[in-house]
């Protein structure tokens, strides 16, 4: 048994994953105390970050609050905006006679489904409104491009649950300055020339071109798709998921606003096209847009033309960037004394903004279970690997669900519905949900990345046919359900009057700040 202590952590790679992990570790392990674990981050001055992860989950609020970052400063520095969910346009089916169809996946419901599930009551009722508008005020707020809060609410508090859209490069910059100046992270800028292992196979050190040889007890691989430590050095293989999720490329374009008062959407807009889908994310100073597609179904030129068609006139002069997506995840995320976080751990198409969310989850678990002794490593590694294998698989299931329920008829969409491309766990669940509402017991793992509520927004939004009539007697709390439906309607009306536009609130934040209380 090796009783050696783990005192030094070296994070290899900056970017969102590196800096978020560095900040979380240093904060939670109290690295400012010299007897605590010390965190160093080395980044290459020459390798650019991928930096297209611009959507977060509401978990980011807790992350930022815990790190002690002011929300107003974060919003200002990262050109961030408030996000209340995702609007899925033309996912149900292709537009008919030029008319788009859409649904919303929101963050807030009038009551959490685990407390009282409105889904069966909505399914069994004479539906006047779509599911999202029946159970949440947030759809109306998204359509009106309103913010989820106003200046009278304290930082990180919302009238509705919310997340952010952000500029990933600026975010890494903010985290870097906070981690180095406030949390005791040491920063080195150098290129790695070799990785050295000891006899046991652990990583012992990295050699660099300008910072000498760096030794550490524990290494975090945040080297992006390259996966220098866990993949190239320790030889951990990669599970390709191309057979399940068919997209393999993205073409991106940043679109400036026409004028400084152009409304800013308060949700991500995801629009389905012939061989994939576009994201459209409104930041303060520009929109970030991109088309995720399958190169087997559409050429790169046609794909770029699809994105430009979506963006409309006046965007021909804007440059585009092509990104090859290596979709899949590592066979293990933690091996020996090395854990991979971020793109090095895996990548899945950004349909539900899982990238940053999984970085946060990895950082949290690593910090919480951090082994202070080498002998504890194998146990923690095993827990971590099982947990993240589950999270990646469930994330794939959830994203696949969006494709599987679509009635679009193009080859890409039909191929996505072929049973051999659908995880068995998802097929079984869908078969069950045809005659039963989703239950909290379908999501009873603590590591469940997407909650019951998320599945319901997608299932009902996609007009999944769920027949519950045979079991109507089971759902007899109709008075209570009616009460919640009415409360959602009332709240919608009230918040529509009360809340400022996303643009207005963001403009005000340039001058004013949220209070701490």
């Amino acid at each position: 048994m090796n009783q050696a202590n783990i005192n030094q952590v070296l994070i290899v790679g900056g970017g969102t994953a590196g800096w978020l992990t560095a900040a979380k570790l240093a904060k939670q392990l109290n690295s400012q105390d010299p007897t605590a674990v010390q965190v160093t981050l080395i980044e290459s001055p020459d390798i650019p970050t991928v930096g297209v992860g611009e959507g977060t989950w509401p978990t980011m609020r807790k992350t930022l609050a815990e790190l002690g970052i002011s929300e107003s400063e974060f919003v200002r520095h990262c050109n961030a905006s408030f996000k209340q969910g995702t609007q899925f346009v033309n996912w149900k089916q292709a537009p008919e006679n030029g008319k788009d169809n859409d649904y919303l996946h929101l963050f807030s419901s009038v009551v959490e489904a685990s407390d009282f599930n409105l889904s069966p009551y909505w399914s069994l009722s004479e539906q006047q409104k779509n599911f999202a508008d029946s159970i949440s005020a947030q759809g109306a707020l998204c359509r009106d491009k309103l913010a989820p809060k106003d200046l009278t609410l304290a930082e990180y508090q919302g009238a509705q649950n919310y997340a952010y859209h952000l500029d990933a490069a600026k975010f890494a910059e903010l985290l870097k300055s906070h981690a180095c100046n406030q949390l005791g992270v040491k920063h080195l800028s150098a290129n790695i020339t070799a990785v050295k292992q000891d006899q046991s196979g652990d990583i012992a050190s990295v050699e660099t071109d300008s910072a000498g040889e760096l030794f550490a007890d524990f290494f975090v691989d945040c080297t992006g798709f390259k996966c220098l430590l866990l993949g190239e050095t320790l030889g951990i293989g990669f599970n390709n998921i191309q057979d399940k999720l068919l997209t393999d490329h993205a073409v991106t374009i940043q679109v400036p606003y026409q004028d400084e008062n152009e409304p800013i959407a308060s949700c991500t807009i995801s629009t389905a096209h012939q061989a994939g889908w576009t994201w459209d994310i409104g930041l303060q100073n520009r929109r970030g847009t991109g088309y995720v597609y399958s190169s087997a179904h559409q050429s790169h030129d046609e794909a770029e033309a699809t994105l430009r068609r979506y963006l409309g006139a006046n965007t021909d002069h804007l440059s585009s960037r092509l990104i090859k997506m290596n979709c899949g995840y590592r066979e293990k995320f933690w091996h020996k004394n090395c854990v991979a976080i971020g793109l090095s751990a895996g990548f899945i198409e950004p349909l539900e903004a899982s990238a940053i969310f999984l970085i946060e989850a990895s950082g949290n678990m690593l910090a919480e279970l951090f082994p202070r002794q080498k002998s504890a490593m194998a146990h923690v590694a095993d827990k971590f690997n099982r947990s993240f294998l589950f999270r990646w698989q469930k994330s794939i299931d959830f994203i696949k669900l969006h494709y599987y329920l679509s009635k679009r008829q193009e080859a890409f969409w039909l191929d996505n519905k072929k049973p051999e491309t659908v995880p068995e766990t998802l097929l079984n669940a869908i078969a069950h949900w045809q005659h039963h509402p989703i239950s909290q017991y379908d999501f009873d793992n603590v590591y469940e990345p997407f909650p019951l509520d998320s599945y319901q927004y997608v299932l009902h939004g996609m007009e999944f046919s769920q027949a519950l009539d045979h079991n109507r007697a089971r759902y007899n709390k109709t008075m209570q359900a009616q009460y919640y439906f009415q409360r959602a309607a009332k709240l919608t009306e009230q918040l529509q009057k009360q809340l400022p536009s996303n643009r207005d609130l963001l403009n005000k934040l340039k001058q004013y700040s949220f209070q701490k209380i």
Binding site: D150, L151, T152, K508, Q511, Y512, S513, F514, Q515, K516, I517
Partner: protein, 230 residues
Amino acid sequence: MAKVSPINAQAHANTKIKQDPGFAHSQGQHLIPIVVHEFAPASQDTPIVFIKDSETGRFMAMSLVGLKPGENVLVGEQWKGTYIPQVLRNYPLVVAKGKEEGQAILCLHQDSPLISETEGEALFDENGEQTQWCKKMAEQVISSVEQNQITQGYVQYLAEKQLIAPQTLNMNISGEQYSLNGLYVINEQALNDLADETLLEMKKLGYLMPTYAALLSQQRVHNLARIKTA
């Protein structure tokens, strides 16, 4: 927003300002802005609370004069409090910021019922000069602006030290339930838990007396209930 216009010798040559001992213009306001210099006397009558300005998110100090939105129990033929907040005494005069930095322009609430041509104190004399009364009022109004800035610094200090906390005011008066949201009050526990150096800093800044005045004033809600039911 009420219309205000700068006063000048031509337009207001004959303008007079009446006095209203009941301060009826504040009817319909359950919160009256006050400055920190008024905390001691104001705390004798009403609770001193803090609210956030929805335009800026900044905290403002207020004298609570009603138990529900739109209610002012102190308005009457005579003001029913022992202390009359300065902002009421200044009315209908007000200072607006000029185009240049630091410039202050004396203005008048145009729609005020206190404006008259026959009754009250004249703004200008027959030579077109400001009357003594007008000069005195101008001084008072301008000093309010300075005191406002001091108050803003003080209130922001309270917020940063988290010495105020949200409080919903719930009262049952003769069977009727009253509830007011969006109010913040001095948090006694936080005040007691202050680090010595912060306490010393507050002492040096002159923040202790108004803070304790605001804390004690929370009891004055019963005073409002008594006046309301009298």
